[in-house]
Subunit: 383 residues, 2 copies
Amino acid sequence: MIHDRTLSLSGERLAAVYRLACRPEEVEARARAICVEQTVEFPEALIDDPAIRAQIIGEIASLAPLDGERFEVVIRYPVEVAGRELTQLINVLFGNVSLQPGVRLHRVRLPESLLRQYRGPRFGAPGLRDRVGVQGRPLLCTAIKPMGRSPEALAALAYRLALGGIDLIKDDHGLADHAFCPFAERVARCAEAVARANRETGGRSLYLPNVTAPADEIVGRARQAKAVGAGGLLVCPGLVGLDALRALADDDALALPILSHPAFQGAYCVNPDAGLSHGVLFGQLNRLAGADAAIFPHWGGRFAFTQAECRDLVDGATCAMGAIRPILPVPAGGLRLERVEELGDFYGRDCILLIGGDLHAQGPDLVATCRRFVARAEAAAGP
Amino acid sequence: MIHDRTLSLSGERLAAVYRLACRPEEVEARARAICVEQTVEFPEALIDDPAIRAQIIGEIASLAPLDGERFEVVIRYPVEVAGRELTQLINVLFGNVSLQPGVRLHRVRLPESLLRQYRGPRFGAPGLRDRVGVQGRPLLCTAIKPMGRSPEALAALAYRLALGGIDLIKDDHGLADHAFCPFAERVARCAEAVARANRETGGRSLYLPNVTAPADEIVGRARQAKAVGAGGLLVCPGLVGLDALRALADDDALALPILSHPAFQGAYCVNPDAGLSHGVLFGQLNRLAGADAAIFPHWGGRFAFTQAECRDLVDGATCAMGAIRPILPVPAGGLRLERVEELGDFYGRDCILLIGGDLHAQGPDLVATCRRFVARAEAAAGP
């Protein structure tokens, strides 16, 4: 081995809370293996620099059984290992161990010094409420769809949704830059349509186009969207990477609210003994990246999240993380209008209710349906 | 509903081969639900435009049992729905269904018209072999590590590895832009060290720095690396998004071989009834994005891939995909020198063998160990 300059880290550490599914006699060795895998990735016995062994490798802070074959292990990593980069922070937390079965990242606890490196959500709940001018009830969201419609038809739809008082009118996440519905034309027409409806109603509905796009086009599309009057952005971090969302959120020339969509992220959470908890994936990581609200499938819709998973998600979206703002959960995924009261009971006022297809199933008068959606949300929120 | 311009697609379709784990009586409804979820995401009965129903929604091409509660379903989507964007192609293949348990994307079959939109690997196996001047045996790779060492120490290590004849000397994927080991300094020193060794040996070892980085810094780091003599790039698409890898691979000003690293991608494949097959995740998607080789944990190392999964990966890395080149599998993950012959038997000559820590466990003369690694690979490949 080569003799080296002296390594001298601060000693400050971040903590990752893992849940391990394994036999009791294996758990300590597995936890120790994670400490090594996520840092030096090198046989400890072959590291001849004691400073690296002492300062770089993760350390087990606690290890406790949850039930017979599940354990909670807290591992602390030096803050310097995560550096100043979200990509590297995620790598330290779950890069290589993602490849091992039976390990799930349940929570992340970051010290102030590290949290200060992230702006987090620019708007969060209060900022979003101010933008749309709505206090005291859940915000309401819907999507323009289905794919296959022309920009004119989608704009006509967006107009009616805004006329009906929906706060956030987003692109369906499948609307990209299609030959049959080009991004530039769709966004310009829809932004104009929502602005026109706002002028008529005095409302402040926002249009949020989908800027999930090739890596070298994301920022350009977002700026183009802002230039024609988009009121926010929809981003799928599973498709573009969480740090691409972070770059949009940090962009002072944009300064637009961001809705995070879970497309292609499901594989991280559907296996309860692997991947990331709902709280980390949709809550904590979205907050670090700077999303203002996180869409996810509420239990009982077309998808299979459980009540407990939805609660865990809300915890991750709102738990203490220094100056990083809480974000709004956006339950979605085949929700029906008749569930507004139940959703209000479950999430309280601080959420965004996203109903898509069911608004169209209520009869031909979409504007009236949207107004009923608003009225139900107001009633559910109470006085 | 709004009357619309006439939709007129080509009728050409791409095919996604899914494996569903469900009860036999559910399988048809689940397959049909995927056709809708991945395209219009809207209740079919509410779509009043017959052109959208006929042309946009996915169609079930076949449905067959694999065993009692597993089925293989082939769904065909219009090529226009995937557009010209890798992000949207992945979204159509597995965006929302990733959130549903019991569905796995097993293979992708893309028509020529769609494949032509992707350059794919710029080098592939023959291009990589030409760059390092090695034919007839597996290429050899190792990583500079452990994290915590200074740029000088890592460069001294890279020098010895190149002197020993390792073809590809990559950064450990945990080396980012750390205060204790800044990217710019590390890359300049290591590139210089490998070039110096090459001058002494007449060899052509390549140094591949890790350019996994914040979204707005990836291209800059790659260009900086190229400017100081890096011979290739290491990228973790799980952390930066597959399309960020694609943007690097397509960049004619870079034109460097790219090694894809699986950090943070494991959750996509560790559950056999969810996520993506190894062949899709590490093979087909890396090829579409333009990686030239894909690192993954070989069975029997520190991770838990099975032999069958490794074979599936090789199939995805090499199966026919129009003009998209095959890529080299890079078995890794705690491999030991004593397994070189077995690896040669399993993968044949067209692979890259990545051994990290075990090269350092063979005694103090690392250069001699590397030369033994080369000799064993030559012997294993036969005459």
